[in-house]
Structure formats: structure tokens, C-alpha cells
Symmetry: C2
Subunit: 457 residues, 2 copies
């Protein structure tokens, strides 16, 4: 990293922190309509700061729900273009009583900044703007072309940004997208996330008798919608977590030997993971696969919820007429959602217990993604991260899904650098969410360094 950038960040740390606190004081809770004005205010705040950092064509784009913010700076001919994404909306702060200091009054403790949205994603998103500011202050202008697309709906599904990306591929054209909304594997360990699982989310409904029946009078002869659903679901996965739906593993590709080998170097204590994270008596999952493989590189079938029949207090002896389960299959790269949906529907049809009618409703579907770690932008990002933090960058995957990454891949045809500065204990969506203040400043340094180096690549 250039010494001048380093110095500029150091000299402006107090102001950078103050500006972030101002943004964190805006309760831009996207799920609560009474906070719509606040979410809009957050959009105006970041739009203003983008202008201050020298970005051009700054627009607040109104949508059916919450606004998007767009900006660009495109005066680096022959240099690559980076599309920076982030979100300025936050989760609700409940339960309020568990916060040590109020969620929208940022407080510094033990080197951390406590506030709702500090890590997810205001602190990380704002780093991008401050990195641009630093580059412009020190070097007169950014070293690469830049586009910003920030949204206020990430915590409620991100429908507007997905539509916007689909409709504006030309406007958003770039060489790579950059997202800081993930975490480092461990403190001090630079981490790039290069794999995400996809998700097919479905409701499976079973309908049997025309109405709930008396289980004494009809028990033994009438089909039971709850039990039929139980029977069907039990056939979808074995006790080891192996999915039994035919065809599900057809397109599953094993991670490379190199990638698997790299995971063995990640610090991981299975007993501690079981006790402190999962909080159960035993882990489950496919034998012969490590926890990393099982959660990052294997498809999984989960039942998220189930409901049917009488569930009040006490006893009611009905044979339920209807039952529904919410289920999902997490997909690994190469698995196609359409193929998986077809396989599930065929499985349900083939295994429907007699006397019952089943319906499969697809609520959402998106593929898994891998970024090639040898992509030039990823290589540069890894080096920049490593340079600033003074440790080698590790490549991990996440078992979760970040739909915007799929939108960038599908509609813009570009990879996404998932370069996050959060930490595993930041408490996203929880009381006492925090962001490490050192990571905030070093994140700004890392991003500026990445832009510098990427211009040279």
C-alpha cells in the first residue's frame, strides 16, 4: 500500500468514525414501514458522501419500496471498471432489552463500535466510499473506473435491486463486482469468499380427507395428511443427511484437491463448534465429508417448518385433512435450480402416499456460484488484503446464498469479489451488533490498495 494512503487514513480516522456513526444513527429498518423515511434519509446520506468523494452522476432511484443509490466515475481509460455494491438498510433491533447501549446510538467499547448495522452493512459499505475519498485526496483521482449500486432492501429480499440489475446491464457494465458484506474466517485472517450455495425454497402441501376426521371413528381406514407428509419427507433424506431424491447429486462437483487441502489449514475445533455454535449433542451429516465440505460444498435438504392438524394445548383426536412443510435444497455450483425443482416434483409424485394429494410450490430459486480464485481481480484482491493485514489470505466458501452475486453473474456476466471485514462474533441481526474499529480502518486501506493494484493488473 502506498504510504500516502496509509497516512491519509490514519490522519482521518476520527472523522471517518464520526461519519459512520452519523450514518448508524439513522434507523433505516427496511422491514418497518414507519421507518421508510429513515431508509430514504440513509440513501440521501450516502448519496451525499458519494458526491463528496468525487463520484459523479449520483442518483437516488426510487423503486416500489426503498430507493437505490447509483453513482459512477468513469475517467480512467484503459483501466478496468469495478462495480461496488452494499446496502444501507438494517435489521430491526429487537429484542431491545438485550442491548447494552441503544442500537441507534453508536458506542465504542473494547475497540469495537456497537450499533445496529455497524458490520451489516453500513460500516463495510461506507469503507468503499472512504477508500475512494482517500485515493482522490492523495492521488487526485481514483486509479480505476467505478460504479456504485447501493440498496435499501437487502434485509427484506432485495427485489428492487435484482430488477434493476436485470433491466440495466449496459449501465452497470463492469469487469468485476466488489461486495463487502461477509466476514473474515478469524480475527487477523484475510478471507475471500469464493463459493456460495444456491437455494431452492419450496412449500410441500399434503391434502387428504375432505375435512379433519374423528380419529376414533376413522382411524385405521382414512389417510392422514400429516402422517403422509411425514412419510414423504422421511424418504427425502437418510439419517446421515444423504439426499435420496433421485438425480440430486448428478451435477455436484467435488471441490478441487487444492481447495480441500486449503481448508485443512483453517483453524477449526469441532467440539467447540458443536458446543458454542450449534449447541447440540452431536453433529450430523454425510460420513466421509468434513464439516467444511458438508456446509460449503454439498447440497443439503432441510425442513424449515412444518404445520398441520391440531397443535393447541391439550388433546384433540383428529385425523388432519391438510399439512404443509417449508423445505429447501441448498445447491452447489453447477447444479441447476430448474433440474432440482423437476427432480423434487417427480420425487413427490412418485412417493405420495395413497389417499393424499400433494402440491409443490416454489417460493424462490437461485443457483450456487464459484468465483475462480485465479481470476486476476481475485488474485489482486487476495494480495491487497494480505498486504494490509500482514497475513496470507485464505479462500473460503459460505453455505449460505447472496442472491445479488448471482444477479451480477447472470445479467452482467461478471464475477464478484466477496471481500468482507466483519468478524465471526459481530452478532449480525442480533443484539449488540458490533464492527471492529481497526477492521473498519484497515478495510478502507485494503480497498484503496486493491483499487491501486487492480489498476496495474
Amino acid at each position: 500500500m502506498s504510504a500516502s494512503i496509509d497516512r491519509y487514513v490514519s490522519e482521518n480516522e476520527a472523522r471517518f468514525l464520526e461519519e459512520l456513526k452519523e450514518l448508524l444513527r439513522i434507523p433505516s429498518i427496511s422491514t418497518l414501514p414507519e421507518h421508510n423515511g429513515d431508509t430514504h434519509r440513509a440513501a440521501e446520506y450516502v448519496a451525499d458522501k458519494l458526491r463528496g468523494a468525487g463520484m459523479e452522476n449520483v442518483e437516488i432511484i426510487e423503486t416500489e419500496r426503498h430507493p437505490l443509490v447509483y453513482a459512477d466515475w468513469l475517467h480512467a481509460p484503459d483501466k478496468p471498471t469495478v462495480l461496488c455494491y452494499g446496502h444501507f438498510d438494517v435489521q430491526p433491533p429487537d429484542p431491545l432489552e438485550l442491548w447494552e447501549t441503544p442500537p441507534f446510538e453508536p458506542a465504542e467499547r473494547n475497540g469495537n463500535l456497537y450499533a445496529r448495522g455497524s458490520a451489516d452493512d453500513k460500516g463495510q459499505m461506507y469503507s468503499h466510499i472512504k477508500a475512494i475519498e482517500a485515493l482522490r485526496a492523495v492521488q487526485g483521482k481514483p486509479p480505476v473506473n467505478l460504479k456504485f449500486l447501493l440498496e435499501g432492501e437487502e434485509e427484506v429480499g432485495g427485489v428492487s435491486v435484482a430488477e434493476y440489475v436485470a433491466k440495466n446491464p449496459e449501465k452497470l457494465r463492469a469487469d468485476v463486482a466488489l461486495v463487502s458484506d461477509t466476514e473474515m474466517y478469524a480475527p487477523g485472517m484475510p478471507t475471500l469468499n469464493i463459493g456460495l450455495r444456491g437455494l431452492v425454497y419450496m412449500e410441500i402441501e399434503a391434502r387428504g380427507p375432505a375435512r379433519d376426521l374423528h380419529s376414533g371413528l376413522y382411524g385405521g381406514a382414512a389417510p392422514n395428511a400429516v402422517f403422509g407428509l411425514v412419510e414423504l419427507l422421511s424418504k427425502a433424506k437418510d439419517a446421515d443427511g444423504h439426499i435420496l431424491i433421485p438425480g440430486i447429486y448428478d451435477d455436484v462437483e467435488a471441490p478441487s484437491a487444492e481447495e480441500k487441502e486449503s481448508w485443512t489449514h483453517l483453524p477449526f475445533d469441532e467440539a467447540e463448534y458443536l458446543a458454542t455454535e450449534v449447541g447440540s449433542t452431536s453433529l450430523t451429516g454425510e460420513p466421509g465429508y468434513s464439516v467444511f465440505e458438508r456446509t460449503w460444498a454439498r447440497p443439503t435438504f432441510e425442513v424449515h417448518g412444518i404445520a398441520g392438524g391440531f397443535t393447541g394445548a391439550g388433546a384433540k383426536t383428529v385425523i388432519p385433512a391438510k399439512a404443509v412443510a417449508k423445505v429447501s435444497i441448498r445447491l452447489v455450483p453447477k447444479q441447476q435450480p430448474e433440474t432440482i425443482i423437476a427432480a423434487v416434483k417427480e420425487f413427490v409424485e412418485a412417493n405420495a402416499p395413497k389417499g393424499l394429494v400433494f402440491e409443490v410450490r416454489v417460493l424462490s430459486a437461485g443457483p450456487g456460484l464459484m468465483v475462480n480464485p485465479d481470476h486476476p481481480a481475485i488474485r489482486v484482491a487476495a494480495k491487497a488484503f494480505s498486504d494490509v493485514f500482514g497475513a496470507p489470505t485464505v479462500f473460503t466458501r459460505s453455505g449460505g446464498s447472496i442472491p445479488i452475486v448471482g444477479d451480477f453473474a447472470n445479467h452482467l456476466g461478471i464475477p464478484t469479489i466477496l471481500m468482507g471485514f466483519g468478524l465471526p462474533d459481530d452478532g449480525l441481526h442480533s443484539p449488540n451488533e458490533k464492527y471492529n474499529i481497526r477492521n473498519y480502518f484497515d478495510g478502507i486501506r485494503t480497498l484503496a490498495h486493491f483499487f491501486e493494484e487492480y489498476a496495474k493488473a
Copy 2:
């Protein structure tokens, strides 16, 4: 039947109907506290009518919830004693909009009396009182000794009457109990119910991770309480309805060849049963057993309700920490609830998926019962029923449970005559409940005739 009884009933039909209507106008809905006064008023009404019929020692016995009514007449030395049971409380009438005439304004249509409680059980219960009145009017006194025990809690579990029976075996001592709270197999077909299934009702709860987990991050490694419960339940019963819990069938006794043969003469149309009663595409149940055997003489395992995880609108990707199912096993005579509970607990322990902790909570437990059709009281009842209705009496069983019959057997050591005058389409617990007016009057005749004949037996 003596011609004088027949004539007395005929001459008093209008008044008998009017008195029943008056009772039906009292909305004695036992589950709704705002109707507690009405339930008490119904108790007072029947107490008054018992006095009017010449019964003695009439008491309204207050309980923790709704009152019991006791009465006796014990002046027939060397004659048997009959304990008459019935209930004067009713189910709520909802949904009100489906009633053609208001539920508590009895209306006559097509030879039926429409009102909540007309068949279940006010009409049937009141027949006993009118039979006694007729015998006393015509013969000066009843031919047998009589005790009445009527309750106002049958529709909410009958806790008070069960306790009263357990605590007062001497007071309630009798040779046989007589209950009119069942139905005839078909119109014009006198029916005595000689078998009831028992019931063990349980909640099975599964607990896995300490809290709901993110299915992206932990899916593949963390146990899922809903899926674990699904796995466990699916092992309890096969697709044919055969229970797989070891030991469940140990004490199951097949009905006698004679009883099975008698069922083949009952009119039964499986296609119509499927279409109009069950309302499904197919029946289920153990191959090789008739619908009568499956619903009357075989134990069954049913899931009455299940709940766990996220069941709201839309998608939430949690691995649920907890799930609970309400299940029951219906028991046939000879099966002991304690043995069955132990077998279920052992099964759950042996089949609990790893990473999950299960708890089995027993909500209620009662054995199945058979009455010997050769018992003198049953033989007399069958003949009396047949005499009045002019058709042979059939012996059926019910797949349901009537706990009071078990209480009479256990605490008083007596069999119960289940002599009901309802019809299969009476719509118990449903809108437009009705009682056939002809059956009301002929029920009174049958009961009076039974008392006369039983005195001679």
C-alpha cells in the same frame, strides 16, 4: 312392550317433545365460561324433571367446574339396579352461519328436531327420564332399582364425573350401567355397541440445536429438530398402517369368528364411505382386514398435529431447534395403556436421531373395552330394542372411546349397555345437529320396555 306403556307414550308425545325443546333452549355450552350459568340451569332443569318422574334423593353436586346431578329410586327389593348415565352439556354451535335455524331454537323439519344437543346428548339422556315417568304413571313405580348420574362436562373431558365415580363406588353400586349416547348403525336397525377402543394420547417433542440456526451456514452439519421428528414418526407406522413399534400387537386379540361374521351382514358400501364420509381418493389401512376390523378391532397410530420451525408466510431459512407432534394410539380390549406407553417410550429412545433429545408426555390414557354380548342385561336390552323397532338388534363396536364406560368397569365393576337412538347423519358437533323425533319416542318406549324385561330376567 306392554300396550299401556305404548299408549302412555303416544298420548304424551307432544308434551315430551315440548319438554325436550325447553331443555334444548338452554345453551349449556360447557367449554365457554360465559355459559357456566346456562350449564347450571340445565342441571337444575333435569334435576327437577327427575323429581317429577318420582326419583328420590335428587342432588345437584357442585364440582370444580360443572355440576353433576344424582338421583335414585331403590324400592324394588330383589330386583337389579340400573345406573343411568347421560350428559346435559353441549358443544359450541360454531360456525353459526351454517345453521338453517338457530342452534338454541329447536325447529321441526322432515320428522327431525334440529338443535344443538338434540342427539348429543340431551334428547337421548332425557329419554331415560321420560321412560321412568311412563313406567311410574302406568305401573305405579319402576320395575327395577334406579340410579341416575348426569354430568355437564362430557364435552370438555368429563374430569369431575370420573373423579366422582372413583370416589363413590358404594353410592353408585349397580348391576349394570345404561348409556344412550351412541347411534344406530342405520335407520331402523337396533344397535348395541359392545366394544370401544381405548386411547393413549401423547406429545412427542424433539429438541436439537440450542436455537434456530441459519440453514445456509449450518445446513449439512447441524441436526434439525423437525426432520428428526419426521424421521422418528415415519418409523412408527408403515405405509399400510401397520404399527412398527415393537410389542404393540402383543395383546391384541382378534374378534371371534362369530363377531366378524356378524359384521359382514352390516350394510356397507366402501365407495360411498370413501366418497361421502372420508372424502379422499383412497382408503388406507392394514391389508387383509376389513374396514370394520381396521376401525373397530385393530390398534392405530395417528399423528393429530405437528408444529415446528417457521410456518408463516414466505420463506425463512432456519434449522429449527424444536418440534412437537401430538400422537395417539387407539387400543383394543386387552391392551394395557401402561404397556403401550412403555413401548412408545422405548421406541422413541431407540430411534432418536443423533443430535436430538426427545421427550414423550402422556396427556391421557384409557384401555379399550368389550361387553360380553351374552351378559343377561345385554341380551334383554337387545330383545327390548328389537321388539320396539321390529328388526333384529345388531352388535357393533366403535373405534372411538367413551371414558365413562371404563370408569364404570374399573371402579364399579359393571358392564355398560350402550343403547343409542341416534342416527349416522345426526351431525353431532356440527351445524344443523338433529335428532329423529320418531327415534326419540321409540327410544323412550325401548327404555321402558327394557326396564320391564330386565326386572323379569
